[in-house]
């Protein structure tokens, strides 16, 4: 057997975490990105800066604040428990919340760029062809922003798979619940189990390469098609 039971669990947990996080981010990120791409409000710069924060903050800083917020007495943690939820820190739900925050810019920024490339001219033309605002968004903006959605999905997914610091801070190392691949690799190295570390690292390396290669290939084909 190439992978131990614990490693296999870590593998599936990572996929599940990345999948759920990406899905949530696509739903949350699309309206934010659309607003950022279209607004002339002064608040735009502020929101852009907040969205970009996870790009520059050390994961430990972000993880620390999230740990405090998600804790039993933290604002998010206590709100969640008032609403009938369990504890957030050191749980899968907590990990999802942390990942959503940490991966936000990787989804919002490509979507914003894609929406900005959708020319106002075409939306005006659609308006004169009896399409209302929602209709214009779904029939013109979304299809034209398709490459941006592909980039956002893959980057969001891949970035969540690769996260380490935030998970370590708020999730800890509970097998089957919060132990993701990157943590498993760290554990193996700590225990000098280089063979296992090699196997898991290779899996991640090949995965990351394949994802990026696929994105660039599809985007290239899309661009050529449009020309």
């Amino acid at each position: 057997m190439l992978l131990t039971q614990v490693d296999l669990e870590a593998f599936w947990l990572t996929l599940r975490l990345a999948g759920v996080t990406t899905l949530i981010l696509l739903f949350l990120g699309t309206p934010v990105a659309w607003w950022l791409a279209r607004t002339e409000s002064r608040a735009k710069t502020l929101v852009e800066a907040v969205v970009a924060l996870p790009l520059v903050l050390p994961p430990t800083v972000l993880g620390f604040y999230l740990l405090v917020a998600l804790g039993r007495d933290g604002p998010l943690g206590s709100l969640w428990q008032t609403l009938g939820g369990g504890p957030l820190a050191f749980t899968f739900t907590g990990l999802v919340i942390g990942s959503v925050v940490y991966t936000l810019p990787f989804v919002v920024q490509p979507l914003q760029n894609a929406f900005q490339a959708v020319h106002e001219n075409l939306l005006e033309a659609a308006a004169t062809l009896r399409a209302g605002p929602w209709d214009r968004f779904f029939s013109i903006a979304l299809p034209l922003a398709r490459p941006g959605f592909l980039t956002a999905t893959t980057l969001g997914f891949a970035h969540t798979v690769g996260e380490f610091g935030v998970v370590l801070m708020i999730g800890g190392n509970i097998p089957g619940q919060t132990k993701v691949l990157s943590i498993a690799i760290y554990d193996h190295v700590q225990s000098l189990e280089y063979h296992e570390a090699h196997v898991l690292s290779a899996i991640l390396l090949v995965f990351a390469f394949l994802v990026l290669f696929a994105v660039y290939t599809v985007n290239r084909r899309f661009r050529l098609q449009r020309q």
């Binding site: 005006e124 009896r130 209709d135």
Partner: protein, 356 residues
Amino acid sequence: MSTIHACFSLFRGDFRLDAEFAAPGRGVTALFGQSGSGKTTLLRCIAGLEHAPGGLLRVNGEVWQDENGFLPSHKRPLGYVFQDARLFPHLTVRRNLEFGWKRTPPAQRQVAFERAVAWMGLEKLLPREPQHLSGGEKQRVAIARALLTGPQLLLMDEPLAALDAAAKAEILPYLDRLHEELAIPVFYVSHAVEEVIRLADHLLLLDGGRVTATGTPAEVLTRLDLPLAHLDDAAAALDAVVAGHDEEFGLSYLDFSGGRIATPHQPFAPGHAVRVRILAKDVSLTLDEPQRTSILNIFAARVVEIAEHTQAQVLVNLAVGDARLLARITRKSAKLLNLQPGAQVYAQVKSVALMP
């Protein structure tokens, strides 16, 4: 009679639009003016693409905008043809045409899908992607797409301006056909006198964001107090009817209220209505009826008004029957002939252009 009544004021940076007008609720109304005169802004206000607060717009009895409300563009039954066709790049020609068609309640549709396709000659283009069309083809698709929304007002923003001469010549016959077959009113933005004479029934002159004159092209084009008569290609428009043909000399005769015009043979049956353009520079004046001249078209005319054009040239507005002609002659000639308003003269027309 049904009319379109509009009143908009709008500030955009240094530019101020302050336009009020009433236009006939049928036929083609040309919005004419120099670039920067506010033609496009006015058209966008009519379409609801610009929101002019306090604006007023009534189209054939229906209020599209007044102090109580503003109908957004997608709720206005209009068609808009942009200068840059604006086809949707992710949809085929067919899907582009269907875009507005599908969103129009069947009861409001005026033109059958196949009919619009046939009118604009698009049968072979339907499966194509917009990026593989020529400029002229794109514009034909855009016109058909606008027609298929069953508009009660068709707005066209210089649909020919971005095209080369060949593509223009390709599109104009399609526009003529629209003109003849469509009952809906059309607002047509242009800065080409030729297009106006060819297509317009009514003219709205814009200058610096204001409507400075309205009337038929024949009236407005020949008014000496307006800039149109002072353009290089200033011309008069005459409405005429084909009277007959002279097979022996290969000529056609056209009747208008001031007389009979001879032209090279035209492919129209007698009774066909045509519009004739006569450039101001092609008209010369004599006091005595010219004898033994090579010029066939000579009309008795009365000088209505004379205005300075340049230091060397003057413009003369002439009444010929009910029609008006423009003549651009040297100031010296005007002095030698002692031309005054009321004077009886003969206008010799060197060439006429037919705008079928």
